[in-house]
């Protein structure tokens, strides 16, 4: 189909158009032999609901939610194992008893937050680790509140 092809290659190309246009293919015209199926709608169509979405279940504040990976064994008592995925919501205000990501000496760490009688501690859920006590004047910097832990089983 030379006529169509010269149309396609157009004249925007200063180098002329000796190469065939990239879209040009040999054409076979289809034979419309098959019939159109009118079909019946499925009786279940009216009962279809949306898929369940884990994001919806696990993420309350999309913009403020970050995923981090747990390392070490300091929180095994809270069910957090090495390599687990933690869902962290920065929109939440950290309360006593929350598992939080906090900044300690320039590192991010996951611990349970304890606020009692004006004293603030970051407590590991493993007796092998001593709690981190905040000294007077030292500011607690909570990075976010852990809302879920996701553990995938090896198989």
């Amino acid at each position: 189909m030379p006529a169509v092809q010269s149309l396609l290659t157009a004249s925007d190309f200063p180098g002329g158009s000796k190469l065939p246009h990239p879209d040009a293919t040999r054409i076979r015209l289809p034979l419309f032999g098959h019939k159109v199926q009118a079909g019946f709608p499925s009786p279940a169509d009216d009962y279809v609901e949306a898929w369940l979405d884990l994001n919806e279940h696990l993420v309350e504040h999309k913009e403020a939610t970050f995923f981090v990976q747990a390392a070490g064994d300091s929180m095994t008592g809270a069910g957090i194992q090495e390599g687990n995925l933690l869902v962290v919501d920065r929109a939440l205000e950290a309360k006593h008893g929350d598992i939080v990501i906090a900044e300690v000496d320039g590192e991010l760490t996951v611990k349970r937050l304890e606020k009692r009688r004006g004293k603030i501690r970051l407590v590991a859920e493993n007796p092998a680790y001593a709690p981190i006590e905040l000294k007077d004047g030292q500011e607690l910097r909570v990075w976010g509140v852990v809302t879920s832990v996701i553990q995938r089983f090896k198989r």
């Binding site: 189909m1 169509v4 396609l8 157009a10 925007d12 190309f13 200063p14 180098g15 190469l19 246009h21 990239p22 879209d23 040009a24 293919t25 054409i27 076979r28 015209l29 289809p30 504040h61 999309k62 913009e63 403020a64 970050f66 995923f67 981090v68 990976q69 747990a70 390392a71 070490g72 300091s74 995925l85 933690l86 920065r90 929109a91 990501i101 900044e103 320039g106 590192e107 991010l108 760490t109 996951v110 910097r141 990075w143």
Partner: protein, 435 residues
């Protein structure tokens, strides 16, 4: 506080806010690496060339924006300046989060750049904007971890200036500046202290020319004769003067989010001389562009490809050219788009030049469902399933995991990014690790 500007609902139709991230790229790095807090940090441009973001500590050392990194090495060693390559994946994700949070403050939002957006507050005649500004600062800091400054004004130009004042602490040191709360005399005093070069749209050239006419401060420009400004300079600058006086000439541009053009281009890490290498680069850029196209569920009707030498290298012969290749049928198929781009490239390429940059642009973009069939064409086969697998694999295992052979394997043209931080928020294996 004296007389106040009245926020009369009919006279002053709109109040604008401009929210701008402080040292945005540096702040993004700091969110995931708290060690960088209070330390001098810079982020470098593509190919680790120049400084594109500076922390306050670096600014205090007198390092200008755009300074080439190699010139900084001594200073960096002396002061322990930490340098990062641009991690645009991270910055874009953090920007999206910030913009989403900001969008909840007003239905009228203009995202002006990766780190700043305008908000319109026309339905808030009695709202205490200053308090809203403080709330914005707190929320963005807590939710996304980024420090921002907020400026309020009756026009976009004034709002930009208010943001500058907030950032520099020229009108209160708490990161929010509302010109609407200041009296005429207060504003006048403030504007007399700010150089005219800080005004939106007034660049270095213009600043010099204005200085020659004794217009040195914002105050000078604000009271300049508009007719003279228009005749000597331009209608644009006249409009700026009007805006400085509180007469709004620029509207919010809440553009449709789906892009009408998608670009993907890079400067090479080293010069390229041969067609096969250029083909690899172009194929790779097209793969990125096509992925973006599919993500917004669009198809393209034409492909533009261009190549150029380094225009600043005046001793070398120069060459620069681009072509547009129309497609017979709109598509989002990487295979077809790449074929079109390479076809165009073949006609552009001239040997004997040191090529520095190549790029592709997808044009004539529309929604995927409106793909028009072509009479007498079985069309080049589309590969929707393959494209889906490719996009998923690349999202999961990193860009370029699955690619067309046309992209090549070694990629000698790829840019240098030796100091790039992990894609903390967009790749599973790059997630921050916490003990």
């Amino acid at each position: 506080m004296g007389r106040r500007h009245q926020r009369h609902p009919t006279l002053q139709a709109m109040t604008f806010a401009l929210v701008d991230g402080n040292n945005f790229y540096v702040s993004c790095e700091r969110v995931f690496n708290p060690k960088l807090e209070d330390r001098p940090v810079v982020v470098l441009s593509n190919n680790d060339g120049c400084v594109v973001a500076r922390s306050a500590e670096v600014k205090a050392l007198g390092v200008p924006m755009g300074e080439p990194w190699f010139k900084l090495k001594d200073l960096a060693r002396k002061h322990g300046i930490l340098a990062y390559s641009s991690n645009y994946t991270l910055y874009a994700d953090m920007s999206n989060r910030m913009m989403q949070v900001l969008g909840s403050y007003s239905p009228q939002q203009e995202i002006y750049s990766i780190d700043e957006c305008f908000l319109g507050f026309d339905g808030f005649p009695n709202a205490d904007l200053y308090t809203i500004g403080q709330r914005i600062r707190l929320q963005v800091k807590q939710w996304v971890g980024l420090p921002v400054c907020v400026g309020f004004g009756a026009t976009k130009t004034l709002t930009k200036l208010a943001n500058h004042c907030a950032k520099k602490g020229l009108a209160g040191a708490d990161g929010v500046c509302d010109f609407g709360r200041m009296s005429v005399t207060e504003l006048d005093t403030l504007f007399a202290r700010i150089g005219v070069g800080e005004v939106w749209g007034v660049g270095r050239r213009l600043t010099e020319r204005l200085a020659g006419m004794n217009i040195a401060t914002v105050r000078d420009l604000r009271i300049a004769d508009t007719r003279m400004i228009r005749d000597t300079f331009s209608v644009m600058l006249e409009r700026t003067v009007m805006e400085l006086r509180g007469i709004s000439c620029l509207e919010l541009e809440e553009l449709a989010p789906a892009k009408k053009q998608i670009m993907s281009s890079r400067t090479f890490g080293a010069y390229i001389y041969t067609l096969p290498e250029l083909e690899e680069a172009v194929s790779s850029y097209m793969a990125r562009a096509a992925e973006k196209l599919r993500r917004q569920c669009s198809v393209a009707g034409a492909v533009q490809v261009y190549i150029r030498t380094n225009p600043f290298n005046e001793s070398h012969p120069q060459y620069q050219r681009g072509v547009t290749v129309p497609l017979t049928q709109t598509t989002s198929d990487t295979v077809r788009l790449t074929r079109a781009a390479l076809w165009g490239l073949k006609r552009l390429f001239k040997p004997g030049f040191a090529y520095q940059k190549a790029g592709v642009m997808l044009m004539d973009i529309g929604p995927a469902e409106q793909t028009q069939g072509v009479l007498f064409q079985t069309a080049s086969p589309e590969h929707p399933a393959l494209m889906q697998v490719m996009d998923r694999a690349n999202a999961k295992w990193g860009r370029g995991t699955l690619r067309l052979a046309a992209e090549g394997m070694a990629k000698p043209w790829q840019m240098k990014r030796d100091r790039v931080s992990p894609a903390y928020t967009t790749r599973w294996e790059d997630l921050p690790r916490v003990n």
